[in-house]
Every structure is written in structure tokens, then in C-alpha cells.
């Protein structure tokens, strides 16, 4: 097992733990905004760590670029979705 494999293992396990924590937060936190917070943490960092860990395994540069693109696109959609949900939550709040 080379150094790069250790790196991959550590990163992916850390990413998976973050996802687990994010999911727990989604289920356990009391209100919409803090749930969103937990979720976006998992998305940002968790997915980022997993992508980072997988980078050394890529045979070609193109594969690495694609992985990074996946992360960027996921970031973009997650950020938008989070904003949208937060916006709806903020509009609903005053009435509640």
C-alpha cells in the first residue's frame, strides 16, 4: 500500500464521516436553517474530500478534471438549492 493509497483512504473515510454527520444533522436539528447548514457542510466538504481522495487514482489528467468538474457542479446546485430553501423558510417565518 503506497502513500497515495493511504491518502485516498484517509480522505474518503473523512468525507464519508462528514456525510454521516451531515445526515444526522439533517434528521436531528430543530429548524430549517440549521438543517441546511448541516447539509451544505456535508456537500461541500464531504464531497470535496472524497473527490480529493480519488484524484490520485485517476490514470489520466482528463479523469481528474472531470472529477473536479463534478465537485464544482455539485457545489453550484447545492448552493442554489440551499439559497432557494432558505429564502422560502425566511418568507414563511414571519407568519409562523
Amino acid at each position: 500500500m503506497g502513500l497515495s493509497d493511504v491518502f485516498t483512504l484517509v480522505c474518503v473515510v473523512a468525507g464519508a464521516i462528514l456525510f454521516l454527520a451531515g445526515t444526522l444533522g439533517l434528521l436531528r436539528f430543530p429548524d430549517t436553517l440549521s438543517r441546511l447548514h448541516a447539509l451544505s457542510k456535508a456537500d461541500n466538504l464531504g464531497l470535496g474530500l472524497i473527490v480529493l481522495g480519488l484524484l490520485p487514482l485517476q490514470a489520466s489528467l482528463m479523469g481528474g478534471v472531470k472529477l473536479v468538474c463534478i465537485w464544482l457542479l455539485a457545489q453550484l446546485s447545492a448552493a442554489t438549492a440551499t439559497q432557494l430553501i432558505a429564502g422560502i423558510a425566511a418568507r414563511r417565518k414571519p407568519q409562523a
Binding site: L76, T80, L84
Partner: protein, 312 residues
């Protein structure tokens, strides 16, 4: 290890499906169904069908989910709450037993499939050379069983004509109202940033689809999603359904397919056979035209019947 993963995946799928069917919350059922579609996409990847996985994730989870959510919102507006709650629950025991029996019989058949399994993989690969393609799934869709794909496009167009026919007489030929009353700022941002990537990915999908997983359906779905995003964000209005350019785009793919099909009668070995020397360019050309047609049809199917009178 991988079997454990499969078991967990299957358990998740069945649990989600059960939740979708038994929950009392209509919106929750739709959300669970979307999650189900995404999970199913992973299942297809586990079955080594990347082409199907892409299609399922895009259509099963994405577009169908959007369609259902829009319908749910519409019904909530149109139907008085007392009418919603009035629905009498039906007896469930007899149907449950009957459906259980169907599952058992199916399970028995699945386990009793012959061993070794019959497969057309050999023939499909052996004939690949004459098509010039590298992806056998694309070869099945565009060559061996091209008639299925062609007529399925006609099915899509009939569905669209059917959906359009549900408009009011005054609105027929007009456009659908997709733009919400209030457009959230982040959505507009997304609709500006994402489509260039989407178009790039779609072009890439059609191009590699000849040799690798991907192809016209997947690319068409991505394009449809981009078009819907742009229309939802109010950047561009939904097109008039009577627009000639739109209709040429919708009919163009299948029309080209039919023309090339009959060209085969004249210069190759019959209807829907391609001259071997130019088989691959012909197929990629048909795929490109089909992609646009599919994208337009899928997006307009989600948009629904026109509800604004056509502009003169």
C-alpha cells in the same frame, strides 16, 4: 462486500417504494419517489448498465419528479381541501395479498431463469463492425432495433400532441406559462451559469455515445432540463407551440430518421439499413437531430398544455 452494498441498496429501494405507496402525505410521496429514482440510478450502475443509469437518473428522478411536483402544486390550488380529505380509503387486504402473489410468482421465475443465461451479447458485438460504432447499446438503439427507437419518437410526439390538445380552444397554439410569479434570485443565477455546461455535456454525450455509455436520450434529457431551467427563471419565455421553427425542431429528428431509413432501401440493404462506409456518420447525424427533438419534446411535455392565447 459489494454484495452487502447491493443488499443495502435493494433494501433502500424497497423501503422507499413502500414509503411512497403507504404514506398519507402526497408531497412527501413525490419527494421520496425522486430519491427512489436517484437510488435506482445507482442500482443500474451496479447492474453494469451505465447507459440506463444515466437515463434513469435524468428522467426517472429529475424530469418525472419535476412533473409530479408541479402537478401536486396545481392540484393543491385547484381542489378545495375538503374534497381532498373526502377520499374514502379503499380496502387494502385483498389487493395486498394479490400483489404479494404476483411478486412471489415473479420472484420464482427470476430465480428459475435458465443457466447459462441466453444472451445476444455475442451477436451484438459481432455485428458492431458493420455499424462503425463502439457502444453496443447505441448499436441496438440505432441499428439492430432502429424501428423501435424511431417509432418511440413518434410515441413521444403523439404524447405531446395529446398534451397540447388538452388546452382551452383559445390557448391552443399559444405558450405555456412556466415562469412563476416570484422568481428567486439564486435561480436566475443558476439559469445563467449552468446552461453552457449543460449544452457542453449534452454535446459530449452525443459524441461519445457512439463508442462509450451515453447517447441521444441522455443528452436530450440534459438539454430539456437546461431549457426548463431557463424558462423557469424567466430568462426566456416558453415558446409558442404553433411556432414553425419549434415544430421543425420537434419533427426534424424522426423525419431525418425516416428519410435515412428509406435511403437504405435505395443504396443499402433495405429500410433502416445503413451503407457500411458511411454508417457511423449517418448514425451520429441522426442522433444529433434526435437529441434536439427529444430535448424539445421532453421539455414541452413537462411544461404542459399551452395556457396563453397565441400571439398573432
Amino acid at each position: 462486500m459489494s454484495l452487502l452494498f447491493d443488499i443495502a441498496l435493494v433494501a433502500g429501494l424497497i423501503a422507499l417504494a413502500l414509503h411512497v405507496v403507504v404514506t398519507r402525505d402526497g408531497r412527501g410521496a413525490i419527494l421520496a419517489f425522486i430519491a427512489f429514482g436517484l437510488l435506482l440510478g445507482i442500482g443500474w450502475a451496479r447492474l453494469a448498465s451505465v447507459d440506463v443509469a444515466l437515463t434513469e437518473a435524468a428522467i426517472g428522478g429529475g424530469l418525472t419528479g419535476m412533473l409530479l411536483l408541479r402537478a401536486h402544486a396545481h392540484l393543491a390550488r385547484e381542489i378545495p381541501p375538503e374534497a381532498m380529505s373526502r377520499a374514502v380509503p379503499r380496502s387494502w387486504l385483498a389487493p395486498a395479498i394479490a400483489c404479494g402473489l404476483v411478486t412471489l410468482a415473479l420472484g420464482a421465475v427470476v430465480l428459475a431463469f435458465p443457466q447459462p443465461a441466453p444472451s445476444l451479447a455475442h451477436q451484438a458485438v459481432a455485428s458492431l463492425e458493420t455499424t462503425g460504432l463502439g457502444n453496443p447499446v447505441t448499436a441496438v438503439l440505432l441499428a439492430y432495433r432502429a424501428i423501435d427507437t424511431l417509432l418511440e419518437k413518434i410515441v413521444l410526439i403523439l404524447a405531446l400532441v395529446g398534451v397540447w390538445s388538452l388546452s382551452r380552444d383559445a390557448a391552443w397554439g399559444g405558450a405555456s406559462q412556466l415562469r412563476p410569479a416570484v422568481i428567486p434570485e439564486p435561480l436566475v443565477f443558476l439559469a445563467r451559469v449552468l446552461p453552457p455546461f449543460g449544452v457542453l455535456i449534452a454535446v459530449y454525450q452525443v459524441w461519445v455515445g457512439a463508442d462509450l455509455p451515453g447517447g441521444t436520450f441522455q443528452a436530450g434529457t440534459i438539454l430539456a432540463a437546461m431549457a426548463l431551467l431557463v424558462m423557469l427563471a424567466g430568462l426566456r419565455p416558453a415558446p409558442q407551440t404553433q411556432s414553425k421553427a419549434l415544430r421543425v425542431m420537434l419533427a426534424g429528428g424522426p423525419a431525418l430518421f425516416v428519410l435515412v431509413g428509406f435511403l437504405g432501401v435505395a443504396v443499402a440493404q433495405g429500410f433502416l439499413s445503413y451503407p457500411e462506409a458511411i454508417a457511423k456518420p449517418l448514425i451520429v447525424g441522426i442522433e444529433a437531430a434526435l437529441t434536439l427533438s427529444i430535448a424539445g419534446t421532453l421539455a414541452l411535455l413537462v411544461a404542459g398544455p399551452p395556457d396563453r392565447a397565441p400571439a398573432p
